[in-house]
Structures are given as structure tokens and as C-alpha cells.
């Protein structure tokens, strides 16, 4: 299992489009993935699950990935966070 602490860096936070991007990035990987924020752990491969976090700009979230391709999945998600979910702000 890999844990990575990430911070929501885009202006709008984990809103619908950002969440959809995250779920799409994770979809090809077979590992389990969860996000934890504000004391709540959700399935990071579920759009409504991630939206339940209602995580705004600057919120720290913990990514947990567990499975054979966990390293690649963690890198992919970290990259997406660094790119601010491919949004411009």
C-alpha cells in the first residue's frame, strides 16, 4: 500500500470536472484507491464518492492505493494534482 499526502491546488477544488478527471485517470489501474479528507475516506474511483468530500482549494487529502500497479497509479494521481487537474487556474 502507498500513501501520499496531496493538496487540492486548483481554484475550484474537487468539483465535478476535476473529480471526473481523477476518476478517469484512476480507471485503467486495477489497484484499490481511496481519498481521505476531513475525516472521511471515500473510493477514489467513484465520482459521487469523491464529490462527497466537498474538498475545496487548499484542502489536504490522503491518497491510499493498494494493489499490483499502485506505484503507477499513485504517480498518475500525484501528476494530476500537480497539473491542477489540467485546469488553467
Amino acid at each position: 500500500m502507498i500513501e501520499r499526502e496531496l493538496v487540492i491546488s486548483n481554484k475550484l477544488g474537487l468539483h465535478a470536472r476535476a473529480t471526473a478527471r481523477l476518476v478517469q485517470v484512476l480507471a485503467p489501474y486495477r489497484c484499490n484507491a481511496t481519498l481521505t479528507a476531513k475525516g472521511r475516506e471515500v473510493n477514489a474511483k467513484s465520482i459521487m464518492g469523491v464529490m462527497l468530500l466537498a474538498a475545496g482549494h487548499g484542502t489536504p487529502v490522503m491518497l491510499r492505493v493498494d494493489g499490483e500497479d499502485e506505484t503507477a497509479a499513485a504517480d498518475a494521481v500525484a501528476g494530476l494534482f500537480e497539473r491542477r487537474f489540467d485546469e488553467d487556474s
Binding site: 471526473a20 467513484s46 465520482i47 462527497l52
Partner: protein, 130 residues
Amino acid sequence: MAVGILLISHSGIGSALVAAASTMLRNLPLQVEAFEVPFDGDPDHLLPLASSALRRVDGGDGVLVLTDLYGATPSNLAAKLARIGTPVRRVSGLSLPMLLRVLNYPELTIDALPAVAAAGARNGVLHDDA
């Protein structure tokens, strides 16, 4: 394996949901079309139109038909549509969470998708006072 998705709704609802889902997901992983029933529509004229919409989304693995209001004309039309041959499963209570969840499971079969759709809609309702 690719199931088609047909939204059958009252005017203005289905196409708006498809547009919102397309913006969020960019490329939809399944064939999705909205068929909207006007309030003064004649059900006999609507059936052939709905049937051609059904054929357009049908990739040969069945079509999941999502309707907005159980018992209303669009869902009654969907019931008729289900009897014309193409394997059709129907779920009512169409919402954006329902549509997004279905599109998050594009690899599933027509028999598995109704439960996915229903759970999506159910889980989308939250008492939002926290």
C-alpha cells in the same frame, strides 16, 4: 461489449443532463442520446421517433433506458419501446448522479447496469446541512 444509453424525459431535461455529463467527462464512453417528449406529444407519433433513437444508440448489446418520472408519458413510452425487440432495461428517477455513475461503468453488461444506475441516483441524495 458496449451498451447504449437512451434518456427518455420531459422537455429540456435529458439533453441538459447529457450536455452536463459531456462537459464533465469530455468524451462519453458509451453511446448516449436524449429523447425528449413534448407535453403535447401524441404517444402514437412518438413511438417511431423513440424507436429510431433507440436504434441509433444500440451497439448490439442492449440499451439502458433512463426515464425521469415513473408513470409519466416518457416512462410509459419507454415501456412500449421495451417491447419491440431490442434488449432494453429501464430505470426511472433519472438524475445527473445516476447518469455519471452509469458512465463510470461502461464495461458492464445490460443486466448489471440497472443496479448501478439505481445506486447512483440513491447515493446522490444527501441531507446537505452538515
